[in-house]
């Protein structure tokens, strides 16, 4: 039996779906724009925002959100350099890695799964993995016992896995 705090919610309304998708994928798409296309970090956010505006406009025509967002970010990044007359540089020295798109899709799956967990569950996983806090610190932040904090981490991880497997 899972703790009620490890609740999974679906992206039910168009509004919540769009905002959650943006929250889940924005950083990964900015990473794609900066790492693969050399877009300056302070400008990648604007590129990705434009991608999401286009996503908003075309959402009814889109069959595969993740693939679409990756494709749109790649195209928008190329367009970014074209406008600046540095296409040759952008496409010349920054070689796309063949392994990266698949890896990115998997990370997008994880981000999407996380966005469907309860806020508390998301926070637990962020503290444990992104901030790398020990169980004792997490327990303190959650005002609970160390044993329960550990168990919660594992239950939230298991829920993330289930979400990823179920798409």
């Amino acid at each position: 039996m899972y703790d009620p705090e490890v609740r999974v919610t679906a992206w039910v309304t168009p509004r919540s779906k769009l905002i959650d998708e943006y929250s889940a994928y924005r950083r990964l798409l900015c990473y794609l724009a900066t790492r693969r296309f050399g877009i300056p970090e302070d400008e990648a956010g604007a590129v990705v925002q434009d991608v999401f505006v286009a996503y908003l406009r075309n959402q009814e025509q889109i069959n595969d959100s993740k693939a679409w967002l990756i494709g749109a970010t790649c195209n928008a990044s190329r367009q970014f350099w074209r406008k600046r007359g540095r296409e040759a540089k952008a496409l010349g020295h920054i070689r796309p890695s063949a392994a990266e798109p698949l890896d990115l899709v998997r990370r997008m799956d994880a981000a999407r799964a996380l966005s469907m967990l309860s806020p508390r569950c998301r926070e637990v996983l962020r503290l444990r993995f992104a901030e790398e806090y020990p169980s004792a610190t997490i327990a303190e932040k959650l005002s609970t016992t160390v044993a329960y904090a550990r168990k919660l981490v594992y239950q939230c991880m298991a829920a993330t896995r289930r979400m990823m497997e179920n798409g």
């Binding site: 905002i19 950083r27 925002q49 966005s115 993995f129 550990r150 497997e165």
Partner: protein, 432 residues
């Protein structure tokens, strides 16, 4: 007995106080399911260590989504108001009611136009007039550009179905111009190129059509939209066929049929089967052609798509005619002609009259041939056919009346009637 996921995770993390590590280790030796779970959880653990997968509330996007979605309700009400009036009054009603103007209303009008293409392309075109009026009245320059591009593309689709190809191309040029003002527009541009390829195919401008189709295929593939890429490939294969590379077209259709069979898109699959039949007929493989045509007919019949079903039956009947199997061709064409008449496809019904005339001419059954030729003249007259077509059919009637008509001569007239160019009719030199 299996261990719960959290227990396996604790084991992976070396948390011996929480779980019995020895028992789990022993269990994993013999349980493939739990071993697989451990592997999957190991991957999750790695993914979660990536700070990029953790949520990031983007500043401003909530507001943008809210603005985009907030006018949905009012747009439905405005649309209901418009729907109760004749479509040619919609634009003026919108101008008189500025509160109705919203992106949502424009999108609803575009959807309404799309739903009308196959039934009434003129009405679809009239609806896009109203959509254009809404787009022009929007405040945000980016919204105006994006929606004007969408409307122009939809107008091009309607004009294509009406055979107004030059105007369709002009609309597509406008769509491209508008999209050049939209920051991320490649996906929308792919739809424009898709439509352009279809229009150019009808205009027999095959080389340009291939470039447009290729661009659309590449973009859809880039965006992970393999289904639409495959749909554009159908046009590409059609272009190979029209350019005489029937074998290449056949191979492409075969590949696409596999894709559409697995995707469950029955309508497209039926069209592909019909195209395969046309290729096989061109390659003189009558048995394969009949098999594919019959499969197409079965699917169209199941889907209740009578017009497409009749078209395939027509292709089969024409093949019988070319194979000089006149009795079978006559029977099939009579059935097809009756079917087209019944569902109001006047143009197709009139063309089948010419093919029926051809059969009687070949058999030198002049009374029957003349009666059919006269019916064809009347049918094209009722349709207000262009002068060059009316002239061609009237000339055929006279040739039949004077018993000078031949099979190749009827075919010559038919080719003129089907030609997409509006050239003046010139009687063939081989009649004298």
């Amino acid at each position: 007995m299996h261990f719960e996921e959290w227990e396996l995770l604790a084991f992976l993390d070396g948390e011996v106080e929480l779980v019995d590590a020895e028992a789990i280790r022993a269990h994993l030796q013999s349980c493939a399911e739990c071993a697989g779970t451990v592997k999957g959880l190991g991957e999750i653990s790695l993914l979660l260590r990536d700070p990029l997968v953790h949520q990031d509330r983007g500043v401003g996007f909530d507001r943008l989504v809210s603005e985009f979605l907030q006018d949905d309700g009012s747009a439905d009400a405005a649309m209901a108001n418009l729907a109760s009036r004749p479509v040619d009054t919609w634009s003026s009603m919108i101008v008189r009611n500025p509160a109705w103007v919203s992106e949502s209303l424009c999108r609803l009008l575009v959807d309404a136009a799309r739903s009308q293409y196959e039934r009434d392309a003129n009405r679809a075109l009239a609806i896009t007039d109203a959509a254009r009026t809404v787009a022009d009245l929007l405040q945000s320059p980016q919204s105006v550009a994006s929606l004007r591009a969408t409307v122009a593309k939809e107008r091009a689709n309607a004009l294509r179905l009406l055979g107004r190809y030059d105007e369709a191309l002009t609309e597509l040029d406008w769509a491209e111009r508008f999209l050049s003002h939209v920051p991320v527009s490649d996906f929308e541009l792919a739809f424009v190129n898709w439509t352009r390829a279809g229009v150019l195919l009808h205009m027999t401008r095959f080389a340009e059509a291939l470039i447009a189709a290729g661009d659309a295929i590449r973009t859809f593939t880039d965006f992970g939209d393999h289904h639409r890429a495959a749909q554009v490939q159908i046009i590409e294969a059609g272009l190979y066929y029209e350019q005489g590379d029937v074998q290449r077209a056949l191979e492409r259709y075969q590949q696409l049929a596999v894709h559409f069979e697995s995707s469950g898109d029955e309508l497209t699959l039926a069209r592909l089967e019909a195209n395969l039949a046309a290729c096989e007929m061109s390659l003189d493989d009558g048995v394969a052609a009949r098999n594919h045509a019959e499969k197409a007919i079965r699917i169209f019949a199941r889907l209740g798509n009578t017009s497409e079903e009749l078209r395939v039956r027509w292709t089969l009947a024409t093949a019988l005619l070319r194979e000089e199997r006149l009795e079978e061709a006559l029977e099939s064409l009579q059935a097809v002609h009756g079917g087209f008449k019944k569902i109001g496809m006047q143009g197709e019904a009139a063309e089948t009259l010419l093919e029926l005339t051809e059969i009687h001419v070949r058999r030198q059954e002049w009374d029957s041939a003349l009666a059919l030729a006269r019916s064809a003249v009347e049918a094209f007259r009722q349709m207000n056919a262009p002068v060059h077509i009316a002239d061609a059919v009237a000339w055929l009637e006279r040739a039949v009346q004077s018993t000078n008509a031949t099979g190749p001569l009827v075919t010559y007239v038919l080719n003129h009637v089907r030609s997409t160019t509006a050239e003046q009719f010139t009687p063939p030199s081989f009649t004298n």
